[in-house]
Assembly symmetry: C2
Homo-oligomer: 371 residues x 2
């Protein structure tokens, strides 16, 4: 909800060079401090390397988790035709926290939202995309007895819960928070209640307790809206917490990986090894120098190099190996093509594995659906 000369971050637009510390001030969230970061030590790179950098009530959530109290995680998906690497971020994080704290994870699938917003999307296709996305999510290996997929079109209690929430949100408030327009359909204008219900699902299902929602920092206005109503006497819940991620850059180095630049900016979970190789070689933004001689002499810049960034965020979990890559690239010892080759190998191997796990996950879906 912010516009500056240099950058824009709203739930509908991310552009320019984002000043993440400024967003913390603007949104009134907390920085994930070094003492909190300590708790992430043995977790996924996305957590321990500061991609998740800001939070609301994470300290209270960890405290309860460590005291053996019930805590849980919510992270949902607005299903699209196919998922890309960036879409996995909150799920990887949820899985990592589930593994460490053995907590419940609730995964709402907002097929309704997509159906309302996309005028040409049929009811059947909205569900087909959801079916497919659920498989990608479950392929990550969530625990069947502790993970609950909520399909908006079929979860028995969704409307009932959403009614309770809807009564607490005026059209004016929803309009301001979600940028609603008069010509939008009334499913769309109701959806803010459903979204807040998603965030409150663990508490609707199993009573008041601490929850955390991993989100991109641009999504924080929705967290705030939900925190504003959670403690209302008719609900009696705890304000939901959140951890906020920086944006995952696109392959070309765009601010946020997005399917609107599908061919050049995005790695899909369904991409073949050949596609991965071609995309990275052709499009991955490089921090290397223009010529071999220059690169050898002056070195590359890993901080702006997408291949290095993807290794740091997703694919090289070994800190020492990552450090060596960083140094070698910076010194000019490691060439751009060689760095890309490392990433290509890692991504191909990850996706091959993921695609295999998808086949297994397909048969397990029913175990995860909250009826």
């Amino acid at each position: 909800m912010k516009k500056e000369a240099s950058f824009t971050v709203t739930p509908w637009e991310v552009s320019g060079e984002v000043d993440y510390d400024k967003l913390i001030k603007e949104f009134g969230t907390g920085k994930i401090s070094s003492s909190l970061l300590q708790k992430f030590k043995d977790l996924h790179p996305l957590l321990r390397r500061g991609i998740y950098y800001s939070h609301r009530d994470l300290d209270l959530w960890i405290k309860d988790a460590e005291a053996g109290k019930k805590v849980s995680i919510v992270t949902g998906r607005g299903p699209s035709e196919k998922m890309h690497l960036g879409h996995l971020v909150p799920f990887i994080v949820a899985k990592s926290l589930q593994d460490k704290y053995n907590c419940n994870v609730y995964i709402p699938i907002s097929e309704d939202e997509k159906f309302f917003i996309k005028s040409n999307l049929s009811f059947e296709d909205a569900q087909k995309f959801a079916d497919d996305n659920v498989i990608d999510i479950l392929a990550l290996g969530f625990k069947p007895d502790k993970t609950f997929i909520v399909r908006d079109f079929s979860y028995q209690n969704l409307y009932k819960h959403s009614c309770k929430v809807a009564k607490l949100i005026s059209y004016s408030t929803a309009k301001a928070a979600f940028g609603l327009k008069n010509e939008n359909n009334i499913g769309w204008t109701f959806y803010p209640a459903v979204q807040a219900t998603h965030i409150l699902l663990p508490q609707f299902v199993s009573g008041s307790h601490r929850t955390i929602v991993p989100v991109g920092v641009d999504q924080d206005p929705f967290i705030r809206l939900t925190r504003d109503i959670a403690e209302h006497s008719s609900l009696g819940f705890v304000k939901p917490g959140a951890i906020h991620a920086k944006f995952i850059p696109g392959l070309r180095g765009s601010a946020k990986m997005s399917s609107s630049d599908a061919e050049t900016d995005v790695i899909y979970l369904s991409d073949s090894s050949d596609e991965v190789k071609r995309k990275i070689n052709k499009h991955a933004f490089s921090g290397g120098k223009d010529t071999l001689e220059e690169h050898r002499k002056l070195g590359g810049n890993p901080d702006i190099d997408i291949s290095y960034q993807y290794l740091r965020m997703f694919f090289e979990s070994d800190d020492k190996k990552l450090e060596k890559i960083y140094k070698d690239y910076k010194s000019g010892k490691l060439l751009s093509g060689e760095l890309k080759a490392i990433l290509i190998e890692k991504v191909s191997s990850f996706l091959k594995d993921h695609q295999k796990k998808r086949d297994l996950a397909k048969k397990q879906v029913d175990k995860f659906i909250l009826k």
Copy 2:
């Protein structure tokens, strides 16, 4: 949706002396013709005595019904603390048509609507009122295998169906049809989709076919809204039909019986014989003359006498007996007190019976709930 010097009829306001024929022109509905009325010959007084006087596609509905094709009826209830006589009207009619044509009746209970609209109504009370109202409705004797109660908070497919409908209604359209305001909560602004879903329920549940909704004529704008979307390619339904009732006057002779004048204008289904006697004797608007002498000499006016009107609409099904009452009252042979005594006896006996049937209906509710 109509304002004249002489009368006002909108879904939110009914006042003045209603010109029912003018409403037919205004709304573009059809008058229930004498040939259609013929079909009602052996049905409840509300049908055969012209209280239901206007329609949309009733002719097509009856044609299909008589050809043995599937037809059904929808009539719902926004649950209130307790039901009064006026509330029974569409249900009596639905029952009468079910008995004659052996058709399905769908009864949506909009506990959500009341919850959204009444700021002080709790979620629990909205359901409690619905529980109670359902018993009053079932006490009328609907067929268990052909009657489906749909509770908005618990019917599994309600939200899914409503999503399909919601996508076809813009906020602007809903705002115009339902008088929505920006400060209304977003449950309220979504409700038009739920209401249209109610009207389309038989077709959602068992495919495209002719349906009829008995409504007060003031509710026709909602029928029109639903007819406008029913045939959309994403639904593929038949436009729902309707039959429109004139207003049931209040005890004091007000235009429409309403709980806002509970004590003086309304007979509740839970009223005791003593209450009925007291209310009718004290408040029932009389068409009689001021003095016994005058009445004997000049006669009363049954056409404005509430006791006579209630006998005509609800309680004296024997046409010959009714005609005798009419003549005797008009001639002055029958006094106002005597006419009231006839009504008191009929109402007391009806309510005593109803209250007994309620006790039986309580145990049957589960058989009727659509899951």
